[in-house]
């Protein structure tokens, strides 16, 4: 980026909000995704809508890219800078603007941390269910951009089920307001649901209106241990087919159990092949009855032990332990590549088998855990990014897993997003017509492809100027 452009940027946001030191570029070159990193040209912290609008207009004029970012905990590379890019950091936009107890809604700035919002609404008996593993760090803006899921997705759905409205600055600098406090609204295209999960490619989110629900009054948390992984799979299927919908049903394999135990010291049995962490919530005696049915199903499927959390504090310890699984696996190896292939729930036991098969075929180690209840597994490859051969094996193992998931009617990503990490598989799931439509929409909204380009899919360069005659003349375009 030339001096003139950076001067203009500095003028827009003020010099105290503009950073281009080597340190600042470095620390915004990564997010939570392993292996991927790329230095931006500059980092800015805009103060208001108008500044964001001006930055995007400037980007169109001066042809630089813009990458929006929250806390940087994403796992598909959505916030990794691209070539010639400026990162817009939204972490300072962290105000809860309104909690409306009459309409059961919350209006928040995009930098509000998910866990903090949950605590605030729970103080008045309300509930915001989406709870990604990183909920104490990640922001609502990032959650909306990636349609984040979480442990409670099984019963309560994911972020898209709670977004009522969004305000964002479009790539041309205009402000878009869509949605509102109405529970029903079918005026025109459903732009709101289209924005949710667009991974920062269609606009910079500046305000979000969320739906809240009453907080369940009763919760039972169970921990069930199994000597055989297959029995855990069967238990999950049986619970679902007996028409019980727990609020969460989490699975951890032996490798994950051991790493989590190393971190938490809460006494998980290190020899168990699998653990299911199940939570049932609701009102009245039904919660108790469901818990009893689950107990019976577990016993029938050879559960080796069963433990109930004594109180809310203990339940929280168990859930926190589960949320630490991904990072705890890094105790074994420094690079943990986590994917979130998802299959229809009935195929879960098959998918668990396929992951074990991939580990053997490609000589890699997996820690496997995930949201068993909704078929959303997190097979995590334990490797070292400095080991080229190992990394290559990991990628081949994931190719295999993705292909198997698709064959089972599944998808390449349940909740982490496509980003950089999975864009090469997108066509297999979405189909050529699907990807083509996505690209057309993207270009219609973002003419010059300046906003988070190269994420989800790659848009081929437009044919302009004279034909190159030598290979060196061909420039990389948004790889």
């Amino acid at each position: 980026m030339d001096q003139q452009t950076s001067d203009k940027l500095r003028l827009i946001v003020g010099k105290e909000n503009y950073f281009d030191s080597q340190e600042d570029k470095l620390v915004y070159s990564y997010d939570g995704t392993p292996v991927y990193r790329h230095l931006p040209e500059a980092v800015v912290f805009p103060n208001d809508d108008e500044q964001i609008s001006q930055i995007l207009k400037l980007a169109n004029q001066e042809k630089f890219n813009v990458v929006p970012r929250g806390s940087g905990t994403g796992l598909s590379g959505g916030a990794i800078p691209t070539d010639n890019s400026v990162v817009i950091v939204m972490t300072k936009w962290n105000k809860i603007l309104e909690i409306d107890p009459n309409n059961l809604t919350a209006t928040v700035q995009p930098g509000v941390v998910t866990g903090i919002l949950q605590k605030e609404v729970e103080k008045i008996g309300l509930f915001y269910p989406p709870d990604p593993g990183s909920m104490n760090v990640c922001t609502i803006g990032g959650n909306v951009a990636n349609n984040a899921g979480g442990l409670r997705g099984l019963k309560y759905g994911v972020t898209k089920n709670y977004v009522l409205g969004v305000e964002m600055i479009l790539p041309n600098g205009e402000l878009l307001k869509t949605g509102g406090k109405n529970m029903k609204d079918v005026a025109g295209y459903n732009l709101r649901d289209f924005i949710v999960g667009s991974e920062g490619t269609l606009g910079v989110i500046t305000k979000v209106l969320l739906k809240l629900i009453p907080k369940p009054t009763q919760t039972i948390t169970l921990l069930i241990f199994f000597d055989k992984i297959i029995d855990a799979g069967k238990t999950v299927s049986d619970i679902i087919s007996s028409h019980i919908v727990p609020s969460m049903m989490e699975f951890l394999d032996n490798t994950t159990i051991n790493c989590v135990e190393d971190y938490t010291h809460i006494g998980l049995p290190r020899k168990s092949e699998a653990i299911l962490l199940i939570e049932i919530d609701g009102r009245g005696s039904i919660v108790q009855e469901d818990a009893e049915t689950i107990r019976k199903i577990a016993v029938k499927n050879n559960a080796s032990a069963l433990k109930g959390a004594a109180d809310e504090a203990e339940a929280n310890i168990l859930k926190t332990a589960r949320r630490s699984a991904f990072s705890a696996l890094a105790r074994r190896m420094p690079t943990t590549i986590l994917e979130d292939a998802t299959v229809p729930r009935s195929e879960l036991p098959v998918m668990i088998e396929k992951v074990s098969k991939a580990a053997k075929m490609f000589d890699v180690t997996f820690g496997n855990f995930g949201h068993a209840g909704d078929g959303n597994l997190h097979p995590t490859c334990l490797t070292d990014e400095r080991d080229i051969k190992g990394l290559d094996n990991a990628h081949r193992a994931f190719d295999f897993i993705f292909n198997e998931a698709i064959k089972l009617g599944g998808t390449i990503t349940g909740e982490h997003g496509t980003g950089l990490a999975k864009k090469h598989f997108l066509e297999q799931v979405a189909g050529p017509a699907g990807v083509d439509m996505m690209k057309k929409i993207k270009i219609a909204v973002d003419h010059n492809n300046i906003l988070n380009p190269g994420k989800i899919f790659t848009i081929s360069p437009k044919c302009e100027g004279s034909m190159p005659t030598k290979r060196e003349q061909i420039k990389d375009f948004n790889v």
Partner: protein, 437 residues
């Protein structure tokens, strides 16, 4: 040595790539980092600092003023270590980085000199510290302090000096090491043999806490050995870039205690306890001391940890007019030593329903060793947050197990007008105990 060679030698001190690589940049640490919370900027976060250290260690990035500033902006509270599922040893990384930046032109030579001079000559040298303490004591008792504070004369000379003056702890009338004999027997039969490390701040500024600790250990049936040739644990130097000196102190302490037979080494200062537990790691490459350090460190216990584990038969008098009691986790107890439940267990037993959990109890108060002296303004922001949380509990007494935190919170109570008494848990136990005479 050319500048380039010197630089290469210098960055060799940074941790090995394998250790730095352990951080898989998931960002779980961001939620608990007090400096990230202030700036909301990645460079002020543990994840950001590790990325910078890694880049410098690999020779991909040169050190700069920003780098040095961020290393010293860190409180080293190690809350991130508690939050890190991957078990990254962030504290050690930032401490070695401080050793390195202190050698660069980005940290003023005067500051480095002052830090070392103060920590080596005064804090770590018993005579130096006693001398300064006596002067401070005279200053406080003679009425000079009252005069200085009422006229605000220091503020005219130097703002920094004025800030430091406010932080100066109240000096005890007597130092504890002169009052504690080398061997003390319990009143009744000997149940355990323990050794006692009296610290340097505890010895001079909070001597009464040391005496209370001895009293309680006696009640617990302990034979207490307090070697006269023990020295400062070296933690303040170690955390502030002077590791050479800290290791020398470690070896001296190992020698001093090795001569005695004891089961546990009791410390009542979270910072000292944490550092002494870390001797094993710090001296792991020392052929002569590595084994000895391992044994030494394995015996170190915080006083609350000891009481909670040994469950001595102490009799307490329940006081109904106690008022609300709360507890602030010293970082070096909660995060460095992972002693969290033990003190609460004891306090809950003593205070009953009067115990109230403090919101963000394990959030750093800003004391952080000598941070509150060298970065007063930054530390004040953390202190204000802490005092607000304390105010919200309506507690009459706040307990905490580290002299640094005690001094800081006492200062906070004055500055932010919070009516609360700051006590060490042992003092609280001492008050509540019914002595079996």
């Amino acid at each position: 040595m050319s500048k380039e060679v010197k630089y290469k030698e210098l960055i060799k001190v940074l941790p090995h790539d394998d250790i730095l690589q352990q951080c898989m940049h998931c960002g779980m640490c961001l939620a608990v980092c007090p400096t990230y919370d202030l700036t909301k900027m990645e460079r002020s976060s543990p994840r950001g600092r590790i990325a910078m250290i890694k880049s410098v260690a690999r020779g991909e990035m040169e050190m700069s003023r920003t780098f040095a500033d961020e290393m010293n902006f860190c409180l080293d509270c190690q809350a991130c270590e508690t939050a890190c599922p991957a078990g990254v040893k962030y504290g050690q990384m930032v401490e070695t980085a401080r050793v390195v930046v202190d050698e660069t032109e980005y940290v003023s030579k005067f500051n480095t000199f002052l830090k070392r001079f103060l920590l080596r000559r005064f804090v770590a040298s018993r005579f130096g510290l006693k001398f300064v303490s006596r002067l401070l004591w005279l200053y406080q008792k003679s009425g000079l302090q009252k005069f200085v504070r009422s006229t605000g004369v220091l503020n005219i000379i130097s703002k920094k000096l004025n800030d430091a003056e406010k932080l100066s702890p109240k000096i005890a009338d007597r130092f504890s090491d002169s009052l504690i004999p080398e061997m003390i027997f319990p009143k009744r039969e000997v149940k355990k043999k323990v050794a006692f490390h009296y610290g340097c701040l505890m010895n001079t500024m909070f001597a009464d806490i040391n005496l209370d600790t001895i009293e309680i250990l006696k009640e617990c049936g302990c034979l207490i050995i307090t070697p006269k040739d023990q020295v400062c644990c070296g933690s303040l130097s170690g955390h502030n870039g002077d590791m050479d000196f800290a290791l020398r102190q470690a070896r001296k302490n190992i020698d001093a205690f090795e001569k005695h037979e004891y089961e546990y080494l009791i410390s009542n200062s979270a910072g000292c306890g944490a550092f002494m537990k870390d001797y094993a790691h710090l001296l792991k490459d020392d052929p002569e001391y590595s084994e000895k350090a391992k044994i030494f460190s394995s015996k170190v216990k915080d006083i609350t940890e000891y009481i909670a584990e040994q469950k001595p038969e102490l009799q307490f008098e329940l006081n109904k007019n106690l008022g609300k009691v709360t507890y602030h986790d010293a970082c070096h107890l909660a995060h460095a030593q992972k002693v969290v439940n033990q003190p609460r267990e004891i306090i809950k037993k003593l205070a009953g329903d009067n115990y109230t959990e403090l919101e963000e109890a394990n959030w750093c108060c800003g004391s952080a060793g000598i941070y509150n002296v060298v970065r007063y303004e930054d530390s004040l922001k953390q202190l204000e947050r802490k005092m607000n949380n304390i105010k919200n509990t309506h507690a009459k007494i706040v307990l905490t197990g580290n002299p640094g935190c005690m001094g800081q919170i006492k200062h906070g109570a004055e500055k932010f007008n919070v009516d609360v008494e700051v006590l060490h848990p042992v003092t609280f136990i001492k008050r509540m105990i019914k002595s079996k005479t």
